[in-house]
Amino acid sequence: MGLELPKYPEMEEDQVFNFTDSEIVSHVKQALASVLSGDNNSYNQLVGVMHHSKHLAPDEVALLETTLKALAGAVSSIDITHHDSLLSAIFCMSMWNYGPHVADALAELIVSLAISNGKYLDLCLGMLVSNFTPPPYFLDKLKMPHGLERKGQVLSRVHAAFKKIADYVPLAPLRLLTIVLQGMPTIYHKDRAIVIYVENMLKLESGEIGELVGSTILMAVVDRLIELDVEIGWDAILQDDFSKGIFEMELEDVDDIEESAEPDVGEFRLSRKSLAGNSIAELLDNLLVLTFEHLESCEREGRLAKVFETLLQSFRVTVLSAYKSKFAQFVMFYACALDPENCGMRFATMLADLFVQDSQPQPTRMSAVSYLASYLSRAKFLAASSISSMLKRLVDWCLEYCEAHDGDINPNAHRVFYSGCQAILGKPVSIDKALALFRFVLPEEPMINSIIAIMYVLCFRMKVFVDVPRLKSELLIPLEQVLKHKLNPLKAKAASLFTVCKTFIFDGLLESELSRAFGGLERLDTFFPFDPCLLKKCDSFIRPMFVFWSMVKPTYDDAFDDGDDDDDGSSDDDLVQDFVNENEDIMNDEFGKSFDEQGVDIDEFDYALKKMSITPKATSNYKFGGRFQEPARMPSRIRPSTSPESL
């Protein structure tokens, strides 16, 4: 018996039609059976055939294919203890090493094995899962046409095999789920393997088995995104560019960002640059793009709503509770953008629901309202009515809160805060300034957070509310009530405000560094999650649906010069003069008063301010008030403070 085996490659070539399939099957069966009687020869040859993997001659390929097919017919004769060397040889085979015919035969064998006996099920599923990723030597070839073709061949077979196994073993998807989740490369595998693995997971999700395992798999993907996200510390983003603030980082025009060869580096790019060498950031970028594409395909297939529910759940469990997630939340953003009416509103409603529930833990409520604010501000696709209805809800909540907590408001925290709010309502132009100030206030109460959220949204959406008078009366008036509720902001002696304010301006810092200095790193309330995405590929997906500050700014320009110049705030002398004049009034109205009360030498203060050059264009034109109000003005071409003298 054993001696005949090596002959059959030749037979395959010479007398192809002399052997039928069933004869070969019985031959293999005999070889398998002979092990039990102690005759290992033909069995060993069989095992030897399995070990052929690279650079196969055509006859070897034919032999391998025939043997695999014969084994598939003889699975019932395979014994897990006696034929372990054969089994381990089979399970070590990688479809990536072979052409389509051998891969077909191998997939067939694996399916037959998996359904023949419960013992093999996990092993077979594990073997298929290990075929998600190519052998290391193949990773470089993946980009080439040949590599892509092979990838398509292997993956389609692997997924077809899952489907077949699930047809015959209904509980197989459950076991597959565990195997897939356990086999997922950890964040320490920083190579491309994880990208293709995740690609496979998403493919599983969209496949037929997806109905059973999809939600768990999707959650696992999001979890992995979060893990990678957390690996990139804020330090990595901020180390070169401490002045990355919500408004600062996007001051460059869109065109500038794309011309990456340009020598003067904008802040946006600077922070991106600090991520450039970061392999995790690249990995995360790729994974996010994969997820976006997957969401698009879900949308095309009309099952986005279902996937969205899963995403929403996983968002609530992981992303929302993750400390200052930087990128993973854009999955939600993109999903919302694909279906603004349903998903988009569903997301906002969920966040608002979370925020208004007293039973939710404080951090959850805080971050929910931050997400809500950031989302409402940045999502270009949201209708004005939806934004206002959400804001209305927050304002109503605030009113209710005020009524309920009439006596026990902490005046210290609120005083500063209110003065800022008052400023906002009076002069929309100083909103972002005031916002920056709020960030020092260390408010703990949900009330403050919700007001910050409302203000933040108003910054971005003021135009909407200015244009529609009804909204103005519905929202802004109750809001004013809220703000005036306890203290009259203008009477407040906001001593701390100006100390802080000075430090803030003198150091030329914005959000990030500041919030750190003031305990911000431990705090969620100073965090707006949907700031412009720093990942390059990911940003190209998000950009069209995103409201950048530079897009909003003209609203405020109009407010100042009666709309005669809205050309992106270009350094027009008249405009600047108008601006200065107006701002001097503001100074006198608001801040100047307090300065006087504080006995702060305003000239000195402003001189110091002047020395801190954030923008090159603002050299001599600006005077007192204008300088003070400068960040609100948002010149389009603010340069980062890269030279030492600018500080």
Binding site: G73, S76, I115, N117, G118, K119, P170
Partner: protein, 227 residues
């Protein structure tokens, strides 16, 4: 079909304090996590449950873990195939080597060639694979046929059954039901009467969920399991 039983169980469930906000939901979740898994305490696979919470107040257990214990009374539908039980299932794949069957829509079973009695011969008819009996022309097993088979072994982890068609009262249910009365050789006592009672003459429909058996089973004798 054998292997299905209903049990009245008195259970004590230990819940983590973090679940205290929504106890009934977490009880259901906990029981739900037992579904379709073999459980040694129940000595079977839990297919369905109906639970009553007895305690109005839960006791916090002393000790390191501050879990609280809840007493429950539950009605459980269990599936516990034992060797030599008769099971019914639908043929999903058939080859010369084996017949693949799915029982109750979730458990897979295989009957290999050596466990198929010699009466059945493998044939292909109009490119359809089937096992046909030599003695009874109409007794045919093909993909889609509901068959009755004996359990040889049951893999509790994967819920995989190895079955056999050796004995004479196994095979296509439709054929067996029609010929059982006439067949004097068939030993009726091997079919337990209670199973026949609730199943009636109907075969178990493949698409039916395990939950839907509940109504049938309430008639059958109850087994008591205490934990």
């Amino acid at each position: 079909m054998e292997g299905l039983s209903v049990a009245d169980a008195n259970l004590v469930m230990y819940l983590h304090p973090s679940k205290s906000r929504n106890v009934s939901q977490s009880i259901l979740r906990e029981l739900g996590s037992l579904l379709f898994k073999f459980n040694e305490t129940f000595d079977g696979v839990l297919l369905a449950y109906d639970v009553n919470i007895l305690d109005k107040q839960a006791k916090i257990l002393s000790g390191v873990h501050p879990y609280f214990g809840l007493r429950l009374k539950a009605n459980l539908l269990l599936f516990s195939p034992k060797p030599d039980m008769l099971l019914e299932g639908k043929v999903v794949k058939l080859s010369q080597e084996s017949i693949h069957v799915i029982v109750l829509g979730f458990s897979s079973a295989i009957i290999t060639a050596e466990n198929i009695r010699g009466e059945f011969k493998y044939r292909t008819k109009d490119s359809e694979e089937l096992f046909a009996s030599k003695s009874h022309k109409r007794h045919v097993i093909k993909v889609g046929t509901m068959i009755r088979f004996l359990v040889k072994s049951f893999d509790e982890e994967i819920l995989h059954i190895i079955g056999s068609l050796i004995s004479a009262h196994t095979g296509s249910i439709r054929w067996l039901d029609r010929h059982l009365e006439e067949d004097s050789e068939f030993d009726r006592s091997s079919m337990k009467s209670r199973d026949r009672e609730w199943l009636g003459d109907k075969t178990v429909d493949e698409g039916a969920t395990p939950m839907s058996y509940d109504n049938h089973i309430k008639m059958s004798k109850k087994r008591r399991i205490t934990e």
